[in-house]
Symmetry: C2
Subunit: 329 residues, 2 copies
């Protein structure tokens, strides 16, 4: 099966652009809804940071290091590199007795407008603390300290990445067909859309007082939903969507237009991929599915911003609109 | 017919994302090559600025105002808002005895890093001179002064836009199925991919000493190819591609992933649209077609930058590559 149209952009009554994709809603009994090819192989990219954080909790490293719920949320973040995020990474590193140089994520200019302006106007270079994945990497370092691993923790043969691979294949119930190197230099294991949705369902159904894995999964879901500003940042879709749902749902984006959602009350997980990698399409598509499942109010302002609002130009004139493709959402 | 895969992004030996589209190469005898649906209706967006500039020349307004070849190139620009572009717009307006407030394109932060930094760090707001379409709009104002039209020159009923509509339908040989409002507030008339490619072929085949239309078209093509830094800006695909082809070919992008090319030596025109609106896909696809038609050296650095180079992450590690989809290019 091929990808299906999900999100359309209209201008002057004519369809101008279309995003096609694959999506799966996975419930306690298996696949409940699907569009496109549920078995399409994708790189989940940063949408799986909560899976990559499972070994941190399951190993006992998180509790041994005295991590708080906000640390756990930050470990699952693709953040904006705002002062809040930069300082969170710095303080956590200091708590471990480690330094910015111990990170292996690389540096890039942050997305946060204020911090970006501060760096630009002072000619200060961004550092690895600003990297949108710095929280995940400090999480890796916390686990690495616990197990006494070597410094090159992003190598695929490193025990950290091998434990993530094992965990990832268990929660997706799919043998990963391969891995790629992510923007932050960590391995990213491929899976199917169904595998990713199944993993999100496992998080959604996890009993906070259940097995080691269930407790870890439930804690991570609650942490993400409780600290939406740490998981992304002001003005970002993940933060705004989680706020709009009042802590009831955790959502996470990944590069190249992946989106996942964890719905504990319904014990359902969602995974979707827009095949062209266009973020606006993924944000609109997850918004539509959250409305469909009844966890996001269609009248909330975030829906207008990400999905149903008029497209405007530099003079504020309405130029067009986004629409759900027939048959989707 | 549906859009076909054109550009793929690979990571770790697995195809991660795909851009699909439509493309037509139009020669003296008609369609020579086509992918996807040649009759797909698209908004050409800024790819048709050279068509929108035809009435400026054909009316005699350009010569009456003493416009140089660089003015003509700038009228066809989607520029970066660098100091060069800002000043070009300001000087042309002053030459007409007009002011920034006479523009109707709206203001936005320029793409040029230096000018963006200057504005950001001085808390100076961008003005309409920075709008990537300001050259086109000063062109509109030049024609408007010549014909004594009203101030609201972007309204679709204004004589300027009506003359553009007539011209557009003539050179595309397609009755436009409708129009949308562009980012710069001007009407943008829809056409087919074939219609757009046919218009580019008309530009390519125009005799510099032929009819009024042919002379205008040939002058605009030569102007664009001669001043690539005015048409886009440093680091931008249009500028780099035109430089790489040494003035032999004019190319122009449009928002939502449209690209056109005018090849005078071959009397051929190209038009393409990536259906998801992803710019990286359009840039890669036009690069591939320019190589295929023998006007762009496949070993030129711009090819590595836009099409064939390795994708690298923040630490410089190779994470993947772009590839032509089977059957394209």
């Amino acid at each position: 099966m091929t990808a299906v149209p999900m999100i359309e952009l209209w201008r002057g009554g004519i369809r101008e652009s279309v995003h096609t994709g694959h999506a799966v809603v996975f419930g306690p009994g298996g696949i409940e809804l699907a569009w496109g090819d549920p078995e399409a192989v994708i790189f989940p990219r940063s949408s799986v940071k909560m899976i990559q954080a499972l070994p941190l909790l399951e190993s006992g490293a998180a509790d041994a290091a005295g991590l708080s719920e906000s640390h756990l949320a930050f470990a699952c973040a693709s953040h904006s590199g705002a002062a809040l995020h930069r300082d969170s990474a710095a303080q956590w590193l200091a708590h471990l007795g480690l330094h910015e140089q111990d990170l292996r994520c690389g540096a890039h200019m942050p997305q946060d407008p204020d911090e970006k302006k501060r760096l630009t106007c002072s000619d200060e270079a961004p550092c690895q603390l600003h990297n949108n994945c710095s929280g995940k990497h400090v999480g890796f370092l916390t686990l690495n300290q616990h197990i006494g691993g070597g410094s090159e923790y992003v190598e695929v043969s490193h025990p950290i990445q091998q434990s993530i691979k094992t965990t990832f294949e268990e929660v997706t119930d799919v043998t990963s067909p391969g891995f790629g190197i992510d923007g932050c230099s960590a391995p990213n294991f491929a899976t199917t859309v169904t595998g990713l949705a199944r993993a999100m369902q496992l998080f959604a159904a996890a009993n906070p007082e259940g097995s080691t894995r269930e407790r870890a999964a439930a804690r991570l879901t609650r942490a993400m939903a409780s600290f939406p500003e740490l998981v992304a940042g002001e003005g970002r879709a993940c933060t705004e969507l989680m706020r709009a749902m009042g802590g009831r749902v955790a959502v996470k984006t990944g590069a190249e237009a992946v989106y996942v959602a964890i719905l504990p009350e319904q014990k359902r997980g969602i995974a979707l991929k827009i095949v062209d990698g266009g973020t606006r399409g993924a944000e609109a598509a997850i918004t539509a599915l959250l409305i469909r499942l009844g966890v996001l109010d269609r009248n909330h302002p975030v829906v207008e911003k990400r999905l149903s609002g008029a497209q405007k130009n530099w003079r504020g004139l309405i130029t067009g609109e986004m629409r759900l493709a027939p048959g989707f959402g």
